[in-house]
Symmetry: C2
Subunit: 195 residues, 2 copies
């Protein structure tokens, strides 16, 4: 049986690394930035425009009221939703970010995982591993949190970080290897099979 594992992760939690390691351990495809590429192809916007739309504030209510067609951010989200649904139909895989947990909410063979960590641990990881940040790292991490939370809460009916959105929420302070082991156990229980 196939199983799609979606990862939602706090900035600096190491969630992307966990997702990548899991896909290698299970021998199934990994989708992260590819989704932006496919969304660009589907929507007709450039990759850069799609990436920026995800990072900008979502459209204001006033803006939506005056627009006669769907706001651009909503058009992109729609194209992205179709891309994610097509990927999920192809068999077991790991998908990072992009509200995939919400987009695939009606799929029965989906394991939704949330990776988070205490703020101090995330700041330390960003300081050690992300070299090109010029501003204060704490402020930068909090800004990234805000972007992700705003985006997720705008496009889904869920509240970011609430356990009920996911099958499994793991504090990565337990160690990235432990996060991978735990998620693999749950994925195997759900019947994941590598290609």
């Amino acid at each position: 049986m196939s199983c799609v594992v979606t990862f939602t992760r706090e900035y600096g939690s190491g969630g992307r690394i966990v997702a990548k390691m899991l896909s290698e351990q299970l021998g199934i495809p990994f989708y992260d930035r590819e989704i932006i590429k496919y969304t660009a192809e589907k929507s007709g916007f450039t990759e850069e425009f799609v990436r920026e739309a995800e990072e900008k504030k979502t459209a204001s209510l006033l803006y939506s009221l005056y627009m006669t067609s769907l706001p651009v951010s909503d058009q992109i989200f729609l194209a992205q939703s179709q891309v994610i649904q097509e990927i999920a139909r192809q068999g077991s895989c790991v998908i990072v970010g992009n509200c995939a947990d919400y987009i695939l909410r009606d799929e029965r063979n989906c394991l939704n995982v949330f990776i988070y960590a205490p703020l101090n641990e995330r700041i330390a990881r960003v300081r050690d591993e992300y070299k090109d940040i010029s501003e204060d790292i704490r402020t930068y991490v909090l800004k990234q949190d805000k972007k992700r939370i705003t985006y997720y809460n705008y496009f889904t009916q869920n509240k970011w970080g609430h356990s009920h959105n996911y099958h499994l929420s793991i504090n990565s302070a337990l160690g990235l290897e432990t996060c991978v082991d735990i998620t693999a156990k749950a994925a195997i229980a759900m019947g994941v099979k590598g290609e």
Copy 2:
């Protein structure tokens, strides 16, 4: 190294069974109703009074303003906190409920687990396994939820069900055995050792 595993669980999620199975698998003591007994001994109230205090609404602000001493519910919570801290000092164990995750928030060797499940699955479990409920089961489960949430949010600084309170939140729809396996992996990673 010792490790205290605390369980917070939604009513009907099977969290208590998971906790009991984990304690047996790891060979460490299990504390649930014993805490009420010890709290009664410490506070001078009867076991029944302690149990009822946990289930009743916490003291109103108006009541607190007119009382010269600590409200009874707060006195009981204080005694219960001391009991839990004493238990934790004795070595690895499993503690169910009683806001133990919050009471032990400054302990480094603590693994806090939240077990939950979709409402429909919890209603089904309660219908199958709890025989002595006379009222509508859905209403009954929602009432139990409300009691636990009110109690937890009143006595802690946390919001019930938010991932950040715990190291691990698991949807028991994954299966109780899987919940036990996952928690055991995390406890072993934290260095738990049976007696």
